[in-house]
Structures are given as C-alpha cells and as structure tokens.
Symmetry: C2
Subunit: 666 residues, 2 copies
C-alpha cells in the first residue's frame, strides 16, 4: 500500500527522497562518539592536535595545563605596571576581608591572610582567567562555620576544629580536581542561575545578620543562622548592647557604603571603594589605639602570629570520627565555591572576549585548594567583589594575583602586629557592606518577568537559607530545579500542526493563525525525546488528540480522518519504552480503523523527519517494519501529500457515516 | 539592518510571514493551561462534560468512579457463563498461590486466602480493567518479607510482625490512592520497562533461590536473599538434605513445567496449566495423608483457621517505633505493586482495545489495599500470571474476580482443614514454576539489540537484586535511568544542517548525504529545550562548531562565514539561563566579528522557527531586541535566503584574508 507512489505525492521538491537509514556503525565507535560529545564538548585536545611534531605537541600540552606559559614569554613592562596597580589594590581589599571571613568560619584570623598568600600563586600558574582574584569568600566561610559547628566546637577544641576545617578543604580540592579531570563539570550546571541568585542573596542576608553580634558588641550569640534565632538572640540581650560599638560600626558602615556608591557612579574612582576597607581598618585601629577603647567594650583582633604559612600536612586527619563530616563539608562547600568561581571567571572572560574552559578551571581550583590545605589555608575560590575590583583596576594577566600574594607575604612577615588594635566592629562593617552588594534585587525582578518558575526557585532558595539554614536553602533550590527538569521530561508538549496555505510548510496551529487543518490527516508534533518517563503520557495525550479530532470531524460532518502524521523532527532520542509506545499507537489505530468498516483504508500512522538514531532504533525493534518503511517521509509536507494522494485515489466525498463498506484497494 | 528586506530573500512561499509574537495571556490562565497539560493529559472529565443536565452528569460521574455501573446493566447470562469458567479457573490457581506467597512474606498462610477474598470484590467495583485478576504477588511478598525482617522477627514476635505488615499495606494503599487523586501517576513511569524486566527477573531468581529451603527440606535458612548467602546456606547443610523432599519437589516441579509447556503450545488447553497447581496440592496432600510422610521429613502447612477475614482495624499501629519501617515498606512495595498491576492491566487492555486510565487504576488499587488492611489482607495487585490465565479462560468483565472471591470464601468457610496435609515442598514447586516464567530472557536480548543503555539498566537491576538485595537492585536501576535522563538533558545534541539542493529544505548533514553546506552561513540545530542544565554545554559546543567552520573556511580559502542560523524548531522550552546563553552567544559573535575588520558586516545570530513560548521569553528578557526582531524567521529556508540576500548586496567574492576593511553598509 502506498509504496512507490511517494514521488506522485511529493511536491516539496525533495522528490522521492527517502529518509535514509544510517549505516551500521560498530558499537565501540558509536560509544566513542557519544562519549566525546558528552565529556569533551569543547574538544580540549584540539590545541595539541593542531601542532606537528612531538616536541611542539608536548609544548602545546604543557601550555594547555599551565596557561601562564602562554602569556609569560610576551610579558612586558607596560603590562606589569597595570598588574602592579591592580595587585596592590586587591591586596588592600584582601587583607581586611581575609581576616573578617576567617572569623566567619570560626577560624583564627591569620588563616585568612595565609589563604591569600599560597592559593593565588597556584592559580596564577594554572588558571585560565586573567581577571579572577583568588581569595576566601563569605558564603563558603559561613557554610564551613555552620556545618562544622554542628559537631565540633571551635571555642572548646580549636585545634580539632582547625584540623577538620583543613581536611574539609583538602577534600573540597580533591573533589573539584576530580570533577575537572573526569570532565563532570556539568554537575555545577545543576546550580542554575536562579538558584545562585536566591542562594547568594539568602547567604548574604544571613551573613549580615551574623554581624549584628559584632555591631552590638555582644559576647554570647546563637550558633543558629536563621532569622528567627538571630533576632531572638539580639533582642533578648538589649541590656548588653554597647553604644560605643554601635556608633563605631554604623559610622564605618556608612563610610563604606558612601564610598561604594561614589565609585559606582564614577568608575574612574574605583580605587576609592577598593581602598575604603583598608582605610577603615587603619582609621579604626588608630582610633582604638589612641582612645584605648578596647577597655570600653570595643573588641579587638588581638595578637596575630608573625610569619608565613606553616606546613599543615600533618594536620590532615583521615581516620578521626570526623572524617565523614569533613568529607560532607568539603564536597558541599567545594561545589558552591566552584559555582561562584566559574561564574565569576566566565562573566569577566565574556567582557574581554576570551574563552574559559570550565573543566580546566576546576582542576586549577582543585589544585589550589589541595596545596592550600597543606599550607594552612582554608577554602579559596574567585570572589566576585575582589575580581570586580581587579578588573576595574585594569589587571591584564594573572600576575596581579602574584602581586597581591607578595603584598600579603610582606604583611605576614612584618605588619601583623599593626592589626592588634583593629576593632572587630570594623570587620563586621566591612563584611556587611560587601554582603549588601550580593543581594541582587534587580535579578530577582528580572526572573519574575521572564520565568515564573525560575523566580520560585530563587525565592525558595532565599527563604530556605534565611528561615532554615544554608543547607536547607540549597536543597530546596536544587530540588525544585531538578523537579522542573524531570517534569519537563515527563510532560513534553505535543501540538497539532497546520498547513501554511500555498506552501509545503507545517506550523503549530496555536501559534500561527494562518495554519490550516488538513482534512483527513491529523499532523502532530512531539517536542522532546520519547523516553520511559514520558512514553505513557504521550500515548494518552496522542489518544486525546485523536479523540478531539474525531469529535471535530463528527461535528462538522467531515470525512473521517485516517492518517496520523507524527512530526519526529524534534524527537532527539528514543529508548525501548518509546519504540513500544509507537508500536502500541500503531496497534490502537489499527483497531480503531476496524470500527469504521466503511473506511476504504485502515487508520495509518505516518512518521515525518525522524533522525538517524530514531531510524536505527525503530529498525532494530521491528517497529519500522510494522509501520511500513513506505510511511516514513523526510518532511511533513511530503507525508501529507502522500496521504492526500492515496485518499483521493479512493472514491471521493466520503462523509462520516454515509459511506458503504469498501474493500481495501491495496 | 535587513529589516524590510525579508520579502526579497524569502523564496519558500511563505513570503514575508514573520514569526508571530503570542498574545499576552493572564498569568493564571497560562498556569491553568500548563496544569491541565501536566496533570490531566487524558482529560478525565470529558465524559462528564459531554452530558447535559445535572442528573445525567452525576450519573456519568458515578459511572466514572465505579466502572462496574457501565457493564452491570447490560450483563447477560452468556457473559456470566464466560466469567464463571474464568473465575473458577483463577480460583484454583489463587488458593495455592495465595498460601505460597504468604509464606514468602513470612505471614500466616491463611492471610493469602484472606487476600484473595476482599480485595477482588473492591476491584470489581472500582477497577476499569476487564481482565485483571486480583491477588498477592511473589515479588511484593518477598519485598515485604525481606524489608520487615530486617527489624522485626516473624518467628519471635509473629503478632507484631503481622501488625507492621498490615500497617505497611495500609500505607501502601493510601500512597497509591494519593498518587491517583493527585494525578501523579507519572512517578510510576520512572520505573522504565527495562528496569521492570531486570528487576522482575532478578526478583524471580531470588524467589526461586528462597525455595531451595523447602525443596531440600531444611529447617534453618539464611534471612539474606542474595545468591552468595543462599548458596552458602544450602551447601553448608548438605548433611541435612532430605531426599524425600527433594524427590517430591522435583517431581511436582517437573509436572508443573510440563503442563505449562503443553498449554503454551496449545492455547485451547490453557486450563491444564491453570489447574495444575491445585491438582498438585490435592495429589501432594493425599500422598502425605496416605504415607504419613509428615513424620519422615516432609513439612506440611498444618492447621489453617476456618472462617472469613477477621476485622483488623485495631491491628494498625501508627505510634509504634516501627511506624517508619511500615511507611517505608508501604511506599516501596506500593509503587512496585502499582507498576506491575498497571503494566498488566494496560497490556490486556491493548489486546482487547479498550482504554485504561492509569490514575483511576491507582485509586482502585489504593482503595482495595486500604480496605484490605482493615480486613486482615496484605498487599494485593494484579499479578501477571493469574491475569493471563483469566484472559485465556475467556473472562468478559471484572465479574470473574467476584466468582473467584466467592470460591475462596467457600474454601475459607468449609475447606481449610483439607490443607492440613499439604506439603510445603509442593508450594515451593508451584512458586518456582511461576517464577521461571517471569525471567524474560528474550526481552533482555531485545533490549541489547535496540538500546545498549536500556540493557545496562536491565542488567544493573538484575545483578543488583541477585547479588545485593531487592532494594539495592531497585535503587541501581532507578538511579541509572534517572542519570540517563539527566545526562540527556545536560548533553543535548547539536547538528549542522545543510541544504537539500533545489529546495528550501534543510536537513542534518550527518544523516542526509545530499545536504550541502551553504557558503557564508552556518546552520545549527539544537535538539532539546535550553535549560540551566545544558546552557553552558551548548555555549561551548556551539563555539566549537563555529571554530570548526572557521577552520574549514580557512582550509578551503572560502569566504569567511558571517551568519549563524540557529534552528529553534526543536527547542520546546527555555529558561532564564537559556536566554542568557543566547545573549552571550550574540555578544561573543559580535566580538568575533570585530577581529575580522575587513568584513562588510559584523557576525550575526539568526533564529529560525522559535516556538511561541520561546518568543515570549526572548521578548521579556530583551534578548529579542538585542538580536533584532528582523533576524527571526519562521523557517530555516527563509533565514538563509535573507542572509544570502544581504551578503550578496555587498561586494561579492570576499576571500578569507584578501579583503580590505569595508565600512558597514547599514
């Protein structure tokens, strides 16, 4: 039936072109191709393959692993000048921020300085971003603090706490590097932009709330991070509030916010807001030193150990009962740190139009944290605020990280005593001012306008972090995101296509008002792969389309339709449940046809534009044979033309219910 | 640029047709529409809506909830005769199977009979399948047995064990009904066909292994279900093997397999294999009664309580420490039972060409199990073997379940003493023969041929069940299945399209050998929704396509290409990460264009055939504006024609590297 008559029906110009069956490929070759598409989408070995000769290839490979070898040979004095200015600027930000964030993680303040010394050097060699400034970040610090504090008390056993924190950093590094080596970078992609906006906003809010302790000069504070606990803790101690602390904190916060506002307005004066934290620290320390305010309720940092990072390989502890805690903390904070670092790196790369390889960055971050954990550093990544300052300061290469590192080294060697009188309340003000910039209110508005589900994800993450905990917020957001993907996969869209008059083009009836139904033929389009998750949904939904079409035919007294054309163009993949579904659909149509015995031909399912993978699967599962290879067409136009041709070879004008039984003509 | 010139370029017949922007719909209306597509794909209220008048609508609704009201009024004596034969046949199978499976769940044998009395009556009223025979199933029984035995010992505290099992059944029923009411039936779809084949095969193997206890007449046996433990248990007790038991077991197993083989060959004699289990029970019992074999190592069932199901509402225990165990067991076994029951119902509905509403079936199964748990029944569903016998015996309606139920009632009231001497080894033989039919070897071969990943899922489930435990097998299979879906969503396919000569049709170059590259234009097609999971992958992959195309241009000394046409026809949906990705792609192309200053026009991204949802999102995120609405076309053909037109309005013949800088003409 119908075989050989395609050329008559086809008017689309492609003539009798048939959907070709792909040549059988060896299993291993197919597997290899799929593996490459999955794990090496950006073809990282391209740079090596292009070179000829072993030596040049080795050099290319080395350049690939250590990107600094690309820019180092052509490094000039002019570039150095730019990097020097940028490096010193970010160092002035890194020192107070490092100390503040270490306190957020319940770690000794000096660890913040250590962490701004070694990791930037590692990143400068291995990282491919030219703008990223390496350092500790507030959210990851808070996360480390809250996760570890659940099982280990930093106040009661600081040595154990430090060991667990370093072990967690080590695991974070190993996990990050592993993700990169195994090219599993897409795991980070499961933290969508919406998740990150909500999560970051929530974390920033929580971090600000934690600073209320410093601002009010309180000694005791809740270990919980949620809004309710913190507010209860603050307002149950009103009699302990220290006005000196409040005045000083608000003053510096105001100063920092004003400078940021000013710098934002006039980007030429970026250095004003960049230098403001260090200026606050210097002014605050002088103020305390002169007035001896440390005796009047202003808490100060106190003694900071002089000297460079001590080695800490022996502090890593893989056998303690806290191993699992360190592993869990390491993996979660590692992923969060990666997500922030890669997002920041990518944004600036886009501004300057160069490419960043996510998987390579992961290896760089991982190595940096492994080395860091061996040299008394805790988790580092590329913080947004510092990188933005670096970018604005005109950095040219990763050399600015080296400059910053040298500046921190000098501080560690000679200047730590100067921080003795630095008031904690100034650090709180620095953190708060940095955090307020992370609450991205316009982004949330944008999400609401563009995509309501994304907005829900964002809000869920925010509320989860603020009213629950950082982990709860993350779980909520990732959960909603994945549920959304699964729902999409389980509930694909099917649409009826209509003909654009005077063309062979078929378009969605609900979108193109010009599209018209074709009498006798129902053209359906499936907008997703046919998988076990949606096979039975599609079966039901297509059955409903057929019912609807039948009702419509009856109402209008039209000819009973006979052909269901499935546009498979958007079906990227199919599995065995999918092929069974098509086979069941065919059988159902066959049986439906038997009810209308007056019809000249049984119902027929027709496939248009299936991809090569689909053709292969349909063939090997014998469904192709059952449908009939002559009912597969490269375009919807040709499929409908063939249906039309076969229908009109019959007695015309068959109206629903009026026809007598005909014999099958073929 | 280019605006207004589309009509010149378009040669596809659609003329200057533009991609229409969908009319703005109120948020709630969109939400409602999406909800309906998601949760009511089959439009279940259609039958009610069709009727006119309140009374008729109420009747239709009632008929919808209780499908027996549809067939009951037209029930005839002829139909009754068919159902009577089918009912008696399945009863003769249900009685020995019920007793055997109850032992598999470590429950009193009489519970198996109770469970074949009440639930079939409930299903007959509420179920929409005409062929399903309700009863307990081996896999769910084994699962209940192994899950509960981990925390409660059936031997030491049988009353507690019974209570927890009934509570689990209650939870299973509530969960099943809830899934149906909330129309979340798609959760069952996450158990793909491949998963079920592997899992069932594994479970059948494990159940067979468990029967070795009965076959060898062993008193003590491992509680583990994995192959290694069972084999060790069997072969460490070789001195305790009873030859009487082995001989009797093998004899009956041989008898049962022979009858099954015979019935399969001649379907007219289906009743031979259906009656064989009951015949075995009768012969076995007589044999023991006559020879007093119960004193020579043949274990017998012993005393079975006479009388109908006692009420068990007071046995349900919601406060004990075993609540969570019951809940967990209930949910897992409930889903497994649902998956089997619905799959079986659907298969037979397809044979007889009637429709089964999955969500309605869930409510029926759920109600049946809730009522069951209140009347001393444990988990029931629609077992495949019994339903197949029902179908072959020529059942016409769910009345056959009622007949079976009556037969079981008579047994419970009068015949239980007859089972006193039934040897356990016969029950083992019955289970083994039923289980061997569940290992679907040809299905596994089919999976290997059609889809290697599905085969891995199947094998994973099988090996997980056989060498681990039932839960492990299930977790492995569902895990691989979901990973596959996520991988698909995270790694969509992109392909280069080429022009089929002399047409406006564009097809995949790797599939259609006739398709040819268009000079100056790169046509790419994305085969999936653009989501946060794949946005950065797509960005990288598209960048690689562009690099490849540039390399090719250089090699061939062709004109540098300028246009990237994205065929969005298969992009069903987009989120904010997706719109950002397109915007970044546009910016990257803009910057690339600046490198080739001799080009007359900057690089341009062109979209072809975006769906209405995509258009809306692109518009609200301002990406549409940035790309330019004049660069959106309904077909690839028109898009390429326009690109061609604009390019050829410039100086022709620009060869890579040979052109001088031109001014932008627009």
């Amino acid at each position: 039936m119908g075989s050989g008559s395609a050329a008559n029906g086809g008017g689309g110009g492609a003539g009798a072109a048939r959907v070709p069956m792909p040549a059988a490929k060896p299993f291993l070759e197919t597997l290899g191709g799929n593996m490459k598409e999955t794990f090496l989408p950006d073809d990282p070995f391209r740079v090596v393959r292009r070179e000829r000769g072993c030596g040049r290839r080795a050099a290319a490979a080395l350049r690939y692993v250590f990107p600094f070898m690309e820019w180092a040979p052509s490094y000039t004095l002019g570039t150095l000048k730019s990097d020097l200015i940028a490096g010193i600027t970010i160092a002035s930000l890194a020192i107070p921020q490092g100390i503040s964030y270490a306190k957020l993680a319940n770690l000794p303040p000096v660890l913040g300085l250590y962490s701004s010394f070694v990791p930037p050097l590692v990143y400068a060699m291995m990282g491919s971003s030219r703008d990223l400034a390496v350092g500790t970040v507030a959210v990851a610090s808070l996360l480390i603090g809250s996760m570890l504090s659940e099982e280990v008390s930093a106040a009661e056993d600081p040595a154990l706490y430090l060991h667990v924190a370093l072990t967690a950093t080590f695991f974070a590094g190993v996990f990050q590097a592993l993700l990169g080596v195994l090219r599993l970078g897409f795991i980070v992609d499961f933290l969508s932009h919406a998740t990150i906006v909500g999560f970051m906003g929530g974390a920033a809010t929580v971090v600000c709330l934690q600073q209320l302790k410093g601002m009010f000069g309180l000694d005791h504070f809740t270990t919980a991070t949620d809004l309710v606990s913190v507010m209860r803790s603050v307002f149950s101690q009103t009699h302990l509030w220290r006005w000196e602390s409040v005045v000083m904190g608000c003053g510096f916060l105001f100063f920092l916010l004003i400078t940021r506002f000013f710098s934002k307005r006039r980007t030429r004066f970026f250095w004003v807001s960049a230098a403001a934290p260090l200026a606050s620290v210097i002014i605050g320390s002088l103020l305390v030193y002169v007035t001896h305010a440390e005796n009047h309720g202003i808490q100060v940092i106190g003694y900071l150990k002089k000297g460079l990072n001590p080695p800490s390989a022996t502090s890593l502890n893989f056998s303690s009962p806290y191993m699992m805690l360190a592993l869990k903390t390491g993996i979660i904070t590692g992923v969060i740190a990666l997500a922030e670092g890669i997002a920041v790196g990518r944004s600036f790369a886009m501004f300057k139009n160069y490419h960043i390889d996510g998987n390579k960055e992961m290896i760089a971050f991982g190595t940096m944290n492994i080395v860091g954990s061996l040299t008394s550093c805790y988790l580092t990544t590329g913080p947004f605020s510092r990188s933005a300052v670096n970018y604005n300061a005109g950095c040219k290469t990763a050399m600015s990280n080296v400059i910053m590192s040298v500046a921190v080294m000098i501080t560690l060697l000679f200047l730590t005593p100067l921080f003795h009188y630095t008031p904690l309340v100034v650090l709180s003000a620095i953190i708060m001012s940095a955090m307020l910039g992370l609450i991205d209110y316009p982004a949330a508005v944008h999400l609401w306008q563009v995509d309501k589900v994304d907005f829900c994800v964002c809000l869920g993450a925010y509320l989860g972090v603020v009213f629950g905990s950082v982990e709860i917020g993350l779980v909520v957001a990732v959960g909603i995101s994945i549920l959304r993907v699964l729902l999409f996969v389980a509930r694909p869209r099917t649409t009826v296509l209509g003909n654009i008059p005077n063309t062979m083009i078929y378009r969605r009836m609900d979108q193109y008002t010009a599209a018209q139904r074709v009498p006798g033929v129902l053209v359906l389009r499936v907008d997703s792969p046919i998988y076990f998750t949606n096979a039975s949904y599609l079966r039901e939904r297509i059955a409903r389309w057929i019912d609807d079409e039948e009702d419509q035919c009856k109402e209008k007294g039209e000819m009973q339709f006979q052909y269901v054309v499935l546009d498979m163009g958007a079906v990227g993949s199919i599995d065995t449940s999918g092929t069974s579904m098509l086979d069941e659909l065919r059988k159902t149509l066959d049986r439906r046809g038997l009810q209308f015995s007056y019809l000249p031909l049984p119902f027929q399912i027709v496939l248009a534009n299936p991809g090569s993978e689909i053709m292969k699967k349909l063939d090997s599962s014998k469904v192709l044979e059952a449908i009939g290879h002559e009912w597969i067409f490269p375009t919807v136009g040709e499929a409908v033309a063939e249906c039309d041709f076969v229908m009109h070879s019959q007695k015309p004008g068959m109206v629903m219910g009026s026809g007598a039984p005909h014999e099958n003509l073929v």
